[in-house]
């Protein structure tokens, strides 16, 4: 199995007709924020301020930014460790994210889980577990509930190429196909699962598995944020119209190691160079410059925002341990997930508002 994508990007309409200028700026901003936060966090990690390990999605920011941007407030997301932009789009603020990486009390999980293992339940996000792709089943279950209740909403989850080898991938794909559920599965094919290349992971191109489970599969250029957006928007429409699931194979490249402790020596230098030329942030910046947008101003604003976020996060206390035993069980009422932010202009007035409350 070659590490190049076997198919050209199919269904690769860039979605200009659905994206206003402000949306396209938003997409760049989200990617810049993600990249900037992760760079700062990596620096803090090297300063010993981020405990445990550190994972980032450098070079694949478009996969989460583009897909999350197509999600409505009432949709629900299971976000993975290289999808930080999705959290930002849903409304999680940078200081909270940096506090979370540093294990501070102000982090989204208050120190109970680390790095990108978080999900702000009030913004409709479910925090991931390490066993992958367990979250595919959770997303499938959420979609199942939406369909049972007749709601026009969908669930979306990301997962990596390696995780498709586990049973939960197949159980989720099968269940979603059998019940024809409104779920969007985004397969981030970033060429490597830790050090394991694709030819040790699949015997077929994974997008073909969608047909095997009875639904649509599409391969797209994961480094084009507007293509990602359009593919997800289409998949969402299919889902809420009762057309069932979609598997979107987003082809991209993991430009850093598996985690901060991995120097990725196993990746050929030429491959890295080739993908650097296809950097998603660079590509979106070029687009916006062609439209006379002041990209440098955006960069500067993002940098300032991250500086402020880091200052705020560093000033926050570590958790004290006084309540480390509390919260194992819910003692009150079970509150379902809440709605998240949805900055896409396509969700403004005129859009049907019959999403559910959970």
């Amino acid at each position: 199995m070659s590490t190049e994508t076997a198919h050209p990007a199919v269904g690769a309409a860039s979605g200009h007709e659905h994206l206003a200028l402000e949306d396209r700026i938003w997409l760049l901003r989200a990617m810049l924020l993600m990249r900037g936060i992760e760079e700062r966090a990596m620096s803090l990690y090297r300063q010993g301020k981020v405990p445990g390990s550190f994972y980032d999605g450098f070079g694949q920011e478009a996969v989460s930014a583009g897909a999350a941007f197509a999600m409505a407030p009432e949709d629900r997301l299971c976000i993975l460790h290289r999808d930080l932009a999705a959290h930002l789009i849903r409304g999680v603020t940078p200081p909270r994210i940096l506090a979370q990486y540093m294990g501070r009390a102000a982090g989204i999980t208050r120190g109970r889980d680390g790095n990108v293992h978080f999900g702000d339940r009030q913004l409709g996000c479910v925090g991931m577990v390490s066993m992958l792709p367990d979250m595919m089943l959770v997303a499938t279950g959420m979609a199942m509930a939406f369909k049972l209740r007749g709601e026009r909403r969908c669930a979306l989850t990301w997962f990596g190429d390696g995780s498709t080898s586990r049973g939960d991938f197949h159980e989720a794909m099968n269940w979603a196909g059998v019940q024809r559920l409104p779920v969007v599965f985004v397969l981030e094919n970033n060429q490597y699962a830790y050090s394991t290349p694709l030819d040790k992971q699949f015997a077929v191109d994974p997008v073909e598995r969608a047909a095997a489970y009875g639904f649509a599969g599409v391969t797209v250029d994961g480094n084009d944020v507007e293509v990602m957006f359009e593919a997800t928007r289409e998949a969402r429409e299919r889902a809420i119209e009762g057309g069932g699931p979609t598997l979107i194979e987003a082809v991209t490249m993991r430009m850093h190691g598996h985690a901060a402790h991995d120097d990725m020596k196993y990746v050929p230098k030429e491959q890295v160079e080739e993908w650097r030329r296809r950097d998603p942030v660079d590509r979106q910046e070029r687009r916006l410059r062609e439209l006379d947008v002041d990209v440098d101003a955006i960069r500067a604003a993002v940098a300032a925002e991250i500086d402020a976020a880091a200052t705020e996060a560093l000033a926050g206390p570590m958790p004290t341990g006084d309540d480390v035993l509390s919260g194992v069980f819910c003692e009150g009422d079970a509150e379902p997930l809440g709605d998240g932010h949805a900055p896409w202009s396509g969700f403004a007035d005129g859009r049907p508002a019959d999403g559910g409350a959970a």
């Binding site: 577990v129 066993m131 959770v138 959420m142 199942m144 099968n174 194992v328 959970a358």
Partner: protein, 321 residues
């Protein structure tokens, strides 16, 4: 009030919940059209539809995982593992996704997993297990195990109303062999222990199918007054009731149908050794299935499961100690 079997009590609870709460959803293999491997949901599909009494694919991990998803968007799923043994296929979703979600993310997962457990009828190693200890050991999961029809209904209602993941250990041997008076309508049995018989010379601590074994084994022990404590709830464990019985009786026999090592009874024994030491007049004795897979052929199975005679002998010895 009506007299019904343990199985009918479970059906009654499910039926009442489906009628009362539109969020309740049953998920399991063969539970809809077929009415369930044990007929617990016989007739349900006709009344509630196959959407709410869902025939799932053969995929335990997916049953639990999808239930988690449904639960966090406002449903109240009640999953069934066709046999408790098969929970091993869904272990990851239950332990790592459902169990840890609230602690990490402050997100409640109100789901119930019904687990038809236990042996005694040549089910063999994969249809006879009592896996509750695995989930007692896993933070974030509650575990209950009724021994009477009334408790089966009450605990199941309480489990469905609970905002946390709850494992409901329903013992297959009790399905049609235990009958009792069960109140009408929806009621909750608290997650506490119950004194099945009060006594003063010794207490036998048990749960599930072993409660009846304990009662029968100690009915007529040369006039000794033997208390039987039905734990009913394993997580949370009713430590006060256990220590109270020990304080009054001073001699303890703990019966586990599950394999001895690290069974629920081991935790009870540790609790007593540490917090009931001053009240003990003898060693804390355990009667449990030894650490073997449950064998298939009747003489082998009877040799390993704790039967009335074995429990009685252990009690007699301890009384004389």
């Amino acid at each position: 009030m009506a007299v019904m079997t343990y199985l009918q009590a479970i059906s009654s609870a499910l039926r009442d919940e489906l009628r009362a709460d539109e969020r309740v959803l049953l998920m399991g293999e063969d539970i809809g059209v077929f009415g369930g491997a044990f007929k617990v949901t016989d007739g349900f599909a006709a009344e509630f539809g196959t959407d709410r009494v869902m025939d799932t694919p053969l995929a335990e991990s997916a049953i639990i995982g999808c239930a988690v998803g449904a639960a966090v968007v406002g449903m109240r799923p009640v999953c069934e593992m066709q046999f408790s043994d098969f929970i091993s296929c869904g272990f990851d979703q239950l332990v790592n996704v459902a169990g840890k979600m609230h602690y990490r993310q402050d997100l409640a997962v109100p789901l119930v997993v019904r687990l038809p457990s236990g042996g005694g009828f040549s089910g063999g190693p994969f249809h006879s297990q009592n896996p509750e200890a695995l989930f007692m050991h896993s933070p974030g999961i509650k575990v209950v195990a009724p021994s009477t029809a009334a408790d089966a209904k009450g605990l199941l209602h309480a489990a469905i109303h609970d905002p946390n993941p709850v494992c409901f250990m329903e013992h297959k041997h009790l399905y049609r062999r235990v009958k009792g008076e069960v109140a009408d309508g929806i009621y909750e049995t608290p997650f506490t222990a119950r004194v099945a018989r009060a006594g003063s010379d010794m207490v036998v601590i048990a749960y599930g199918a072993m409660v009846d074994v304990a009662l029968k084994a100690t009915e007529d022990l040369e006039g000794a007054s033997v208390e039987v404590l039905d734990l009913r709830s394993l997580v949370p464990l009713d430590e006060d009731a256990i220590l109270d019985s020990v304080a009054r009786c001073s001699k303890v026999v703990i019966v586990d149908e599950a394999n001895m090592t690290c069974a629920a009874g081991a935790q009870v024994a540790a609790l007593i050794a540490e917090h009931g030491f001053e009240d003990l007049d003898g060693p804390v004795v355990r009667v449990a299935t030894p650490d073997v897979p449950i064998p298939f052929s009747p003489p082998l199975e009877q040799a390993v499961l704790p039967g009335i005679d074995r429990v009685r002998e252990a009690c007699r010895e301890l009384l004389a100690y």
